[in-house]
Amino acid sequence: MQCVVTGGNVKVLAKAIHSLSRIGDELYVEPQGDGLALRSVNSSRSAYACFLFAPLFFSRYNIRKEVNFRCKMAIKSVQTVFRSVATLEKTVEKCHIELDEAKDRLTFTLHCKHGLLKTHNLSYQDSESLQAVFDKDSYANVFRAHPRLLVDTVVHFPLSVEEVTVTVSDERMWVRNHVEDERSRAMLTELCLASDEFDHFAVKAHHSITFCLKELRGLLAFAESTGLLLSMYLDEPGSPVVLSVTDSVLEGNFVLATLSDDHNLYGRDLGSPLYQPDAEQPPPPDDFMNDDIDSYLIAMDTSVAPGPSAANPPTTSLAAARETPSDRHRIRRHSEEEEDGDRLPNKKFRSIFFGSVLPPSPQTSMQPVPTQEVLASNSEDETEAD
């Protein structure tokens, strides 16, 4: 693989990598015939993001079509290549990305002003394809807006707010911070956006979904810097929300898990999670051997997401091995046990979903689950502010 990025596109690439770093720790690189795909997934596999840069995005794009090459690397190390995004536009004239399969390294060469040449040789690991399966076109509700609208909305939520709830009606969208215990003293913030603030506002079903704000912020930073319209596809609670930006030479999709409704929270999320082994594209057996974590190739599959009635877990799912807890107390105990337990890929997925169920007691705030710590500190802040 050999590609060359010039001018302002270097910044676009850098911004994309930075927004992917909001998702996961690893960057999956896959040069495809239709462009260079950069992907990331978080450790709990509740958030997935993919950028596809079309060959036209590059001033040169050469790949060996006969080989399916894929690799992954620490996203931090790629970020160091584009450390100073702010000055990148002024300093970098050209960026070469070259793959040296013999030495197992991906080389980024930045041609900077004043004749400075920066070369970063990054080592990588082979990986299987990371693909989330989602069909955003089948979604009931579609919105499109200038990123500014959402940036101005999100700015009202402090960084400590982990999740937001988006509720839609025919005419309006409400965004508020998600507070698990309504009696808690945490500050509630709600914003209402009218449909005419959007470029496109199509609602077929009134839904209220809750998802993590961090990843949305990541994509917003990208959309704002590139000035691309942001589309938001949302469906019923439990189905992932899809955020996307599209342009003639690039496409970015962020797929984020949403919190299920209370009544089907336990039966559904634990029993039949959104994530299922990718049945359509099973990874090659060799890769199974190479990487056991990734052999649990879990994709978000909205097409097979069962309705609320489908409480029986499919036997193929990883979570099926666990019994379905019947009450809140059991869930809490389960997630606590798992903190020091095994490290199945679905472990943190559940902690994301159920970490916020925990009350902000001193006991739970000791646990290394970010949501809980934040909930506790939130209430402290409140006390101080009072």
Partner: protein
């Protein structure tokens, strides 16, 4: 005149009296070398030299010429004492070290001699603070024996261009490798002045072109590749940030000298210098 209330009689007891209208002209330079607590002050009629060392491998010197000071009275040819640099910096910033224009702390620094504390009078907005810092037995600074006649390679750059590289240095790399070569290729076609790191995620190279307008001087006699401990060189970033030009020199033994030209708030020029020992010999692999 700030601090002019000092009685003349008291002044006569001191063997060293210096005063600065803007204490930041001293504190900024001291910050550039403050990677260890203890600093040796060597004062001669020419000015003040402050030396900090670490691990017997790296030495930093800040030079403040006598004419930087509004008053510089020295009664002996050579006065040497050692103080805790961190404490001294805290004292110099005792009024908060405000950087806003028009507000500056005036300083009067006095020393009575061996066994006496270093006395600082600091004044800002009519408030005077007196600080007495105990002096310590001065340690003999290492002589790196770095002679200009032994210099093999020398590069002078505008600091701007090195700042970027130093701020981005991969700190997972234990070493910073510096390659200087007259012309012939080493790894790349035009490798002349090259900074390299070898970290956990891979290697990074910063290759400075000889023809760059950031390169003010390029004088290399032979190809030299030396490695220096990152932990020893990283503190020099402070000096780099402050400076406008930097001279990078290596001698025949591979010792590194970094000289920084620093322009202070009043446009006067001071120098900060770092010496660093090379690490073990580099094997010839790329």
């Amino acid at each position: 005149m700030p601090l002019s209330t000092q009685s003349q009689g008291e002044d006569e007891q001191y063997i060293l009296v210096t005063s600065l209208d803007n204490a930041r002209n001293l504190s900024n330079l001291l910050k550039a070398i403050s990677f260890k607590d203890h600093a040796v002050f060597t004062t001669t009629p020419n000015g003040l030299k402050v030396t900090v060392e670490d691990c017997k491998c790296v030495q930093a010197n800040a030079f403040i010429q006598a004419d930087i000071f509004q008053e510089f009275t020295i009664k002996e040819d050579l006065i040497t004492f050692q103080v805790n640099l961190t404490v001294l910096l805290d004292c110099l910033n005792i009024f908060g070290g405000s950087t806003s224009a028009g507000i500056s702390t005036a300083l009067r620094m006095c020393y009575k001699g061996y066994g006496y504390p270093l006395t600082l009078f600091l004044e800002e907005g009519g408030v005077v603070t007196v600080c007495k810092i105990n002096t310590e037995e001065p340690e003999e600074p290492i002589d790196f024996d770095f002679c200009s006649s032994n210099v093999t390679n020398k590069v002078i750059l505008q600091s701007e261009s090195l700042k970027e590289a130093f701020s981005e240095l991969d700190l997972t790399s234990e070493m910073l490798q510096i390659t200087m070569s007259p012309s012939q290729p080493f790894i790349y076609h035009r490798c002349l002045f090259l900074l390299s790191t070898f970290g956990s995620s891979g290697s990074a190279h910063y290759d400075y072109s000889k023809d760059s307008d950031m390169m003010e001087l390029f004088r290399c006699k032979e190809t030299q590749t030396n490695r220096y401990k990152m932990s020893l060189l990283k503190p020099s970033t402070k000096a780099l940030t402050l400076s406008c030009k930097v001279s990078v020199r290596t001698d025949s033994r591979g010792f590194l000298s970094l000289q920084y030209l620093v322009r202070n708030d009043d446009g006067q020029i001071c120098f900060v210098e770092y010496f660093c020992c090379p690490d073990e010999e580099v094997e010839e692999d790329s």
